[in-house]
Point group: C2
Chain length 107, copies 2
DNA sequence: TTAAAATATGAACATATGCTAATATAAGCA
DNA sequence: TGCTTATATTAGCATATGTTCATATTTTAA
């Protein structure tokens, strides 16, 4: 057996701090019903902040806060059109996991 | 097109309360570093509560609490051997998602 | 430049979460 | 039975989280 040149495995059993942080943050984003509903709404098309608030019966402020959260994790992005911001999802991997899990939950 | 006898789709755009709850609970379980570390440790083999505590440098109480959390969601199960309980994972789907996401985080 | 529309931000609040110490339970064995 | 080991439980605490109200910012257009 020879040592790989790509990576050195000193402790194969432990996750490093950074990986642990990224992974837990990602799942934390999906661990709240409001954020799941927002991401679910954005599955197929973009929506403005007010549209999201209307569709999901949430306060504009709530939506804005959660979108900021999701944007910090690069799970959504937006496009500006005048004073309106159209949000859409921005992470195929995470969206895929969410879709999978919703399917799974629906049996 | 005929109506399926299995399910009626009244509002395709909205997730029902129960699905929302299950999905968010599942992700909440994965949204904490300690629980990720425990599940990650259990990827390949079973461990007793004390072994988990030692390996991960956690208090016995902390491990026991988190295992209860994970067991309530049927993410782990245990087998008794005398006074010792050996825990192992119990949800291939969730373990798969966790593996995927760790891989993804490691680039 | 001023008003209107859309969105973002900050502060306050209630609730949720995770860890810890102390103690309770449960099983095996002398 | 009484002791030991392994695990679970309870309560308390500090911090994190999610929502809301009030207000600030930003962009556009008159």
């Amino acid at each position: 057996m020879e040592e790989s040149s790509e990576e050195v495995f000193t402790d194969n059993d432990n996750l490093d701090e950074e990986t642990l942080f990224i992974v837990s943050q990602t799942f934390k984003a999906l661990g709240d019903p409001t954020r799941i509903r927002i991401l679910h709404l954005l599955f197929n098309k973009e929506y403005s902040v007010n549209e999201i608030a209307e569709k999901l019966q949430l306060k504009q402020s709530t939506v804005s806060h959660q979108l900021r959260f999701l944007k910090n994790l690069r799970l959504v992005k937006y496009r500006r059109a005048g004073t309106t911001l159209f949000y859409s999802h921005d992470d195929q991997h995470v969206i895929g996991i969410l879709k999978q899990t919703i399917e799974h939950a629906l049996h």
